[in-house]
């Protein structure tokens, strides 16, 4: 008995010893490695660039390679953030609140600059980014980066909602691309049963309807294309309870979710909804311009060459509206390498890099002159036709408290469209009151 116990004690000691060894060895190795790195890098500035994981990693690698060749004294390390804009926001702002030293340069969604400016996280760039320079960018993107008369970010690329459709299927059923949402629903009610009869499994439409920032973008397009508004610019108050806005939301609930689009879209962000489209499982699709490249890339897509792109539909009596998206390059106020950071930010947003990025990824550049660039147009022929859409893209409300407003909107939209019995008027009224309360804080 005692012998056994001794054996056991011995065994435990051994385990403890082994686990200690297991702990110490990797730690010491890691520490040593870090030291070596530090030694190597004397004289080299390491810049931390917070970004999301790109879907065309090749383009980013090339951009960084060029930068490193031209600036051998700066090394850019990428910190990859999460997938959705909201989660990326929460992570990045938490980093900035914590004054993390691994943030020098970061990407900002188009809706963030006022918040980042008011909180003092983003560095004002007025001396380095003068008005004359600002004028070479699309006006809406400069507006988005301006807060209280100062500019806090340099536009990198812009996004705006566009409408994709299956050319082959529309031809087969003798339809032209739908002009209105109602038309789209009608076409779906012909095409889907027709295809299903042939044993092909297909849905009508996919978009982004999960409770996250993308939902606000998508829903805004419905509301505005019905002559509605999110915020009334004159009164500065929520217009969600106005009739056009309510009608548009009701249309999405009754005619899109679960009928035109599979109910699963309620969990979809961009990748999932695009996946359905490029697998050939939907006729219509709402996404940003980048989807064009993927949908025509034989490595990912089953519908290469069958994709059409056009303006988003609208409601009868309205006009097509696209939400303005896109990303800006900002510099952390807490960075102690602002000089190098500026160099990198400027490089990223320079005409040649925007051009390269646009060609490689299909994203729409933020600089005006690039829309006349023959090489870009050759790679993205739809840019010529879609230029107007990009120029007219509509911004979301601008406020330092936008995250709070967006959370209310996301909650409202998600609630209103997920439940076919939802009381839209009541939900809209309550959401309006909450938004007005938030807006009153900033006055």
């Amino acid at each position: 008995m005692t012998f056994q116990r001794e054996m056991k004690a011995h065994f435990i000691k051994k385990i403890i010893f082994l686990s200690l060894v297991a702990v110490i060895i990797p730690v010491t190795i890691a520490c040593q490695k870090e030291k070596e790195e530090a030694r190597e890098e004397t004289g080299i500035t390491t810049l931390h660039f917070v970004t999301w994981k790109p879907n065309q990693p090749g383009a980013w690698e090339e951009i960084l390679r060029i930068f490193h060749e031209e600036n051998p004294d700066i090394k850019v390390v990428r910190e990859i953030g999460p997938h959705s804009s909201s989660a990326f926001h929460d992570l990045l702002t938490q980093k900035l609140k914590n004054k993390s030293q691994d943030v020098d340069v970061f990407l900002m969604d188009v809706i963030w600059p006022p918040e980042f400016a008011a909180a003092g996280w983003a560095m004002p760039l007025d001396d380095r980014f003068p008005h004359t320079e600002q004028e070479t960018f699309l006006k809406s993107t400069i507006m988005a980066n301006t807060h209280d008369g100062s500019i806090y970010g340099i536009p990198f690329f812009i996004d705006s909602g566009v409408f994709y459709y299956r050319k082959d299927l529309l031809e087969k059923y003798h339809f032209s691309p739908p002009k209105t949402w109602e038309q789209m629903a009608r076409q779906i009610s012909k095409i889907v049963p027709g295809e299903t009869k042939l044993g092909i499994e297909i849905y009508g439409f996919s978009g982004q309807f999960k409770q996250y920032e993308g939902l606000v973008c998508d829903m805004m397009e419905y509301i505005l294309s019905n002559n509605g508004l999110i915020l009334d610019p004159e009164t500065g108050k929520s217009a969600l309870s106005e009739k056009p806005a309510i009608e548009a939301v009701r249309f999405v609930r009754d005619r899109i979710i679960g009928s035109s689009a599979p109910i699963g879209v309620l969990t979809y962000q961009e990748p999932e909804s695009l996946d359905l489209f490029i697998q050939g499982k939907t006729v219509f699709h709402r996404n940003w311009p980048y989807a064009w490249e993927i949908a025509n890339n034989p490595e990912h897509s089953r519908i290469v060459g069958k994709v059409g792109i056009t303006k988003l539909p609208y409601f009868r009596g309205g006009k097509s509206v696209s939400t303005l998206g896109g990303w800006q390059v900002g510099i952390s106020n807490y960075s102690n390498k602002k000089g190098a950071a500026w160099k990198f930010a400027r490089f990223l947003t320079s005409p040649r890099i925007q051009k390269l990025y646009s060609i490689k990824t299909g994203k729409a550049p933020a600089r005006k002159e690039l829309y006349n660039d023959p090489e870009i147009l050759q790679n993205n022929p739809h840019f010529a036709e879609m230029k107007d859409v990009f120029l007219a893209a509509y911004p979301r409300p601008r406020s330092p408290l936008y995250p709070a407003i967006s959370n209310i909107l996301q909650r409202y939209f998600s609630k209103a469209i997920s439940d076919s019995d939802s009381d839209i008027e009541k939900e809209a009224k309550e959401a309006s009151e909450e938004i007005d309360k938030i807006l009153s804080l900033t006055e």
Partner: protein, 299 residues
């Protein structure tokens, strides 16, 4: 002389306990009071220009009118109730099984403990993947290769909420089971033998002997599980981020969003205080039921 020995012992005892007190005071009780202090101010991290105006109980007034908070509270209570109920139920089953003597008992016990040891973040990712609308095991198990029937479980408010309950029950039933097991092991075998001699059926034995005797263990398991379920965060953060339609928004997640994502430090702290007060009341209620046993006999 004797007195001084006791005095010395007391001084020694206090010095031994000082580090613990220090930690608990600085990082638990002080923050708690600080939360209350913050909740009486308007503090918006994104608007430092606003300062920190003292606004009395304004935040509390807002909180009581905040239907999202109310919704999150209802969700939380529902979550706590459902998950603890099933955890205790399954925990009891697990405990009854493990309490038997059979070959391979050690392996079974270890297997049951695996879910408990897995980081919640990991188990959340697992369940998110299992409920995935395309690659998920649940769809595959129910619909096989009929892909068109596949359901987006996490898209449906009711299913998404259930999914979180399932993930939590899976993860923590074994913990409840172990606490109950400890109670079962205290029951002397003689009692069962006597009952058997008296001709009591297995069910009667369970009802008349097992259940009354493990009552304290059940209550303790219930207490621990309730408190822990109240803190649910990781599951929601990873699996649903509070959606769809806010169906999985729970208090701790809502508070996190308010304080950190939206930067409403003052208002968010009101939620912190509320959550604490609720947990305090629940634990006091349990302790009343359990009697002072918890304090005196546990050590």
């Amino acid at each position: 002389m004797r007195l001084s020995v006791i005095a010395r012992e007391k001084i020694f005892a206090v010095s031994l306990i000082i580090p613990s007190i220090l930690f608990v005071t600085v990082f638990a009780f002080y923050p708690l009071l600080y939360s209350f202090y913050l909740s009486l101010h308007r503090i918006i991290l994104g608007l430092p220009g606003l300062g920190q105006p003292f606004i009395w109980f304004e935040n509390y007034r807002e909180l009581f009118a905040d239907r999202i908070a109310l919704h999150a509270m209802i969700n939380t209570f529902l979550f706590v109730f459902l998950s603890t109920f099933f955890e205790i139920l399954f925990g009891l089953c697990i405990a009854l099984v493990i309490n038997q003597h059979f070959r391979g008992r050690g392996v079974v016990r270890a297997a049951v403990l695996v879910p408990w040891a897995i980081p919640t973040v990991v188990s959340s990712q697992m369940w998110r993947f299992i409920f995935h609308d395309k690659y998920g095991l649940v769809n595959y198990a129910i619909y096989g290769s009929q892909v068109s029937h596949y359901k987006a479980w996490l898209a449906d408010p009711v299913f998404a909420f259930s999914a979180i309950v399932v993930a939590d029950v899976w993860k923590t039933s074994s913990f409840a089971g172990l606490l109950i097991l400890a109670g079962l092991q205290m029951i002397p075998d003689e009692l069962y033998e006597a009952a058997r001699i008296d001709g009591a059926s297995a069910w009667q034995q369970f009802k008349k002997i097992t259940l009354p005797l493990i009552r304290p263990a059940l209550l303790i398991a219930l207490l621990f599980r309730t408190m822990d379920a109240f803190r649910v965060f990781d599951l929601v953060f990873v699996m649903t981020q509070g959606g769809p339609a806010d169906a999985t928004n729970v208090l701790q997640f809502y508070g996190y969003k308010k304080i950190f994502a939206e930067g409403l430090m003052g208002y968010g702290s009101t939620i912190s205080v509320l959550v604490f007060v609720i947990t305090l009341f629940i634990s006091l209620a349990y302790i009343r039921v359990l009697g002072t046993r918890l304090f005196e006999e546990r050590i």
